[in-house]
Amino acid sequence: MKYKDYYGVMGVDRKASAEEIKQAYRKLARKYHPDVSKEPGAEEKFKEVGEAYETLKDPEKRAAYDQLGSHRPGQDFRPPPGWERHFGSGTFSFEDLDLGDLFAGMGGGMHRDGRAGAGIRMPGQDYEVTAHITLEDAYRGTEVDLELGVPELDENGFVHRVRRAFKARIPKGATDGQRLRLPGRGGKGLNGGRDGDLYLNVALHPHRLFRVSGHDLFLDLPLAPWEAVLGTTVQVPTLAGTVSLKVPPGTHAGQQLRLAGRGLPKPHAGEGDLFAIVQIAVPSVASERERALYQELAEVSTFNPRGHFAQEGAK
């Protein structure tokens, strides 16, 4: 069995009082709770903290933990002889048991969500996982392979954490931050309780060209100055392939040209739009001839883009 340093995880002394342990937990939970934290790796860290606290806050579990002595985290060790008495009768091998799972099971409970007393109906555990998909996948719908560490009971009633692979279908219509509930795909219910659900949180990878807001897409559309002035028809990429977009004469930088229905499909009906945001692109190097033409234009044109500035001064 691998040692876990619960005192180290919580940053408290081995002699810390129950109150000190509680304080330390509150502080760490505020920092790492996945519902409130933006820290990278917060979820994993919070799991460690939660596991440590579950054991240290319970005097009985803490005493059993203390009997294990102190080892390096991750070090393989054997509990002192007779130690397994804490976990009721029955013999078992410590080889592939997880310390946290062992303590979670102590006292007949199987999970800190609830107690699995004999014969009591208990719903299965819900799983929650984030699926990172590409914008193209969201557009077409996709199937994702997920791997999840889930607790499972062995024949002695001990919890083991096992890696389980899932396949889940994400129908078209997903967008960033949207959630799907897959009923019955979570942990098995006990004693006739319903099976848990799998909650899928959809996260989109950033796209090279498109930015996403809800089901709308935004694309930068660079135009040459003369294209913006004279108007033109340009080819723009969409998720369904290239389409023609008419740019009217006198188009301004920042203007949003809407391509209706070219965004992400919505899950029930309809689809979002694609907005091409105009930018005026200027060549960084101009040829002699180009410079001459611009020079001529500058002399001929009466256009003043800063007419709305103060009457005098600005030009």
Binding site: D35, L200, S213, D216, I277
Partner: protein, 104 residues
């Protein structure tokens, strides 16, 4: 087996479903409704139902209550503030998407 269910405004869940799926008690859910954090699609209706995306919020409320040992009033307050943060984040995301790449 039922197929997947989108958790967004197009679908609704009943009060009982929300209760069962979130793990919150009926009293706790009523507290969230009474404090205005959780709004039924039709508050005057005999039987409340909710937009399916509220399940995400209710599940988060349940985790916060459990992991921070919060009383119902605190759950409502924390949840309301988290919702505001999420709304603001959504607005920032939307504004960022509208900003030309060169300006971000």
């Amino acid at each position: 087996m039922k197929s997947e269910q989108w958790l967004h405004a197009h679908y609704e869940v009943s009060f009982e479903e929300l209760c069962e799926l979130s793990g919150l008690s009926q009293a706790e859910l009523r507290e969230l409704v009474a404090s205005g954090v959780l709004v039924p699609t039709d508050p005057a209706a005999q039987e409340w139902s909710f937009s399916a995306d509220r399940l995400t919020m209710a599940r988060s409320a349940r985790r916060l209550r459990r992991d921070f040992d919060l009383d119902p009033g605190a759950v409502a307050l924390v949840t309301a503030l988290l919702e505001r943060i999420r709304d603001l984040e959504a607005e920032i995301r939307d504004l960022r998407a509208r900003l030309p790449g060169a300006m971000r």
